[in-house]
């Protein structure tokens, strides 16, 4: 390692000054570069791009024409729509409030609004990260909300006229079923999941039997069962309201699915956590409430949100047992002679409405997934 050349690096440093960088070739930067990388990177890719553009050409302009250019929104009758041939937003405009509030008396709509506000207000409050006192808000949603909301919707006191559940309809009914189903099936699902993992064989068998039975059959059959079989099970004279039967069916059905989701979370908790809780001398319920469930539920929040989305979409099935939800309302409006043949336009409107709700929920679950993901992600 002897340096023989004795060069004075101090005064004559061996520094190579490179020429300035050439600009990247025009074909690899900017819009052209992006297109080369993403659209025309290989012959196959170029072909796909061309096919994709052709497909878009055949799909998008007709949709735009139908939904905007040829659409009609003025007037209150179908004549304008019949002439224009595009989307008939007039139909939606005329029937909008019917679709939303259904047959609920017009002067009493504020009761639905307040009931929904009482639920979604506190819910949004809880979804914001930094707000204090979430525990009490959740407690309100869990217990006192239900009698208050139910009483408000039913009425019959303090000068509020009684509104029978047969008049609850339209999108508000969809929301009522979804909110009730989600709120009741989650706790029931957690209990079922705990039961399925219990040490007690009898309890475990009952829970497994229930969960697997419900999961093997379609929701419609559960709804049919609750309309046809439930009255048979009850002593004579005891009848359930039709809405109540649907709610029981939807809740039991989605509870079984929630139970499986929660069980996934419970299984993901290492045994050490259960053992540590036992070592601390916690009782079963204490260890579940303080140690296991908070961790397990955190893991499965995204999966639970997709169950919620599923339940929200499944609420449409109640039309089959004769409840008048949004879709059913559109169906009967489209069968009405004044708007015969315009049901598909209503379905598009309903699809948009459902899309907005479900998409928002799925985005929120993705956000949560990112936020709660504490491991290493590639």
């Amino acid at each position: 390692m002897s340096d023989t050349t004795m060069r004075d690096y101090q005064s004559d440093p061996l520094v190579h000054t490179p020429a300035p960088d050439l600009p990247p070739p025009a074909t690899s930067v900017g819009i052209i570069g992006w297109m080369r990388n993403n659209l025309f990177s290989s012959p196959m890719n170029s072909l796909l791009t061309v096919l994709g553009v052709v497909a878009l050409y055949y799909i998008i302009p007709p949709i735009v024409n139908w939904a905007i250019v040829d659409a009609t929104i003025s007037g209150t009758t179908r004549e304008g729509c019949d002439a224009a041939g595009g989307a008939c937003w007039t139909f939606i405009k005329v029937r909008f409030w019917l679709f939303i509030y259904g047959f609920y008396p017009e002067g009493e709509w504020w009761r639905i609004n307040i009931t929904m506000l009482l639920f979604f207000g506190p819910l949004l409050y809880c979804l914001i990260e930094t707000t204090p006192g979430k525990k009490w808000v959740v407690l309100f949603l869990c217990i006192p909300y239900w009698p208050i909301g139910g009483a408000l919707l039913l009425g019959g006191f303090w000068g509020m006229p009684f509104v029978d559940t047969t008049q609850w309809s339209g999108f508000s009914l969809t929301l009522i079923i979804a909110v009730t189903g989600i709120s009741f099936s989650l706790p029931l699902g957690i209990l079922l999941a705990l039961g399925r993992r219990s040490d007690l064989p009898v309890l475990r068998m009952i829970c497994i039997g229930f969960i697997e039975f419900i999961r093997a059959v379609p929701l419609i059959s559960i709804l049919f069962m609750s309309t046809v079989i439930l009255p048979l099970f009850m002593p004579e004279g005891v009848t359930f309201d039709k809405l109540m039967r649907a709610l029981i069916g939807v809740t039991l059905f989605s509870a079984a699915y929630m139970a499986e989701t929660v069980r996934g979370g419970l299984q993901a908790i290492p045994n050490g956590q259960y053992e540590a809780a036992d070592a601390m001398g916690l009782t079963y319920w204490q260890s579940m409430r303080l140690i296991v469930l908070p961790q397990a539920l955190k893991i499965v929040i995204p999966a639970l949100v997709s169950s919620f989305i599923g339940l929200f979409k499944d609420t449409t099935l109640v039309l089959i047992i004769g409840l008048v939800d949004l879709v059913s309302m559109i169906q009967s409006s489209g069968a009405d002679i004044a708007w015969a043949g315009y049901a598909p336009h209503g379905y598009v409107f309903a699809a948009l409405l459902f899309f907005v709700f479900c998409f928002a929920m799925s985005r929120y679950s993705m956000y949560l997934e990112d936020k709660l993901h504490t491991g290493h992600k590639r």
């Binding site: 009952i206 379609p218 419609i220 004579e236 459902f354």
Partner: protein, 397 residues
Amino acid sequence: MTDRAETSSEAGGLSSWLYDKKKRQILFQIITIAIFLSLVAYFVNNTLNNLEKRNIATGFTFLSHPAGFGVPFSLIEYSEASSYGRAFVVSVLNTLFISFCGIILATVLGFIVGIARLSSNYIIAKIATIYLETMRNIPLLLQILFWHSILLITLPAVRQAMSIGDVVFLTNRGLYVPWPVPEPGFMAIPIALVIGLVAAFVVARWARIRRDATGQQFPTIWAGLGLIFGLPLLAAIATGFPWTWDIPELKGFNFRGGGELIPEFASLLFALTVYTAAFIGEIVRAGIQAVSHGQTEAAGALGLRQGPTMRLVIIPQAMRVIIPPLTSQYLNLTKNSSLATAVGYPEVVHLFTGTVLNQTGQSLECIAMMMAVYFTISLSISAVMNWYNRRVALVER
């Protein structure tokens, strides 16, 4: 724990039942059984009382009574004189038929969409994403009703039927095509088909064993398709096309004869396929992404092109992740086929728990039979998929 348990059990009496964990568990389970059984007894008692009051005789004898209603779509011979039992078979076959078609189509479309979503091509990936997000977030029932109403509105009435060469007719009652009526010697074709299927299976197995041993590729898919379609074709030519065509004709208010495809089936199948394919697409995407990137790079280092990399390296490994959720999608599709009730495709729920139950009032029996059908289908699909899953699962050494 044990110390305390022992002391308390020594103390005996009531307190031992409360403080000894084992005994407490037994006590609790006895109470659970008691509550459960008394609930069941209560329901059974109520049911028996109710049935007696309504004068409904329980039992399955009604299955042999003539049904007296027509069915718009049936895979087997069925008329109004047929029994309820036959109507049940028709409805089960219809459920199986739509589920089978739906599963095949949804799997194909789902894999295409899932792979397209991962494409490096911006436009293709975006189209796939938009498709997925739209279909997943719109209720299936809404989609079924939408396509059904679109079909009913756009298709012409029977009198103005669209036709191709006066043999194929399209109306809002359905699509009518000429249907082969077998003549003597026709059996050769199904036999050839079975032989072709078996041969394709054998060839595929041989090709796999040879590939594992020598690394040599064999065009399994083309050879298989050739065997499955070629052999029946050869049989048909050899026997001199042993069938005549039954051509649909306009008689009275509708077309008679020929093969019939009703719009209810088409809209249901279409909606089921595009809806389930969106979910399968997501599953496929997740499965492919779960395969470590090193595998792609290793395949590249071995000199495999993109297609073989996907087919031989990525997909087989992704399958391990894909199969379990794919199974539940198949089950979902089968269960969702019951939404046919909304449009009137005669499957189990619509025909049996709908029409038959209303006519006979045998609610318990009808519901029980429907449940049994879905149980059987669910268990069979699970069993098949679990078997396949065991085959593709990672064998840890």
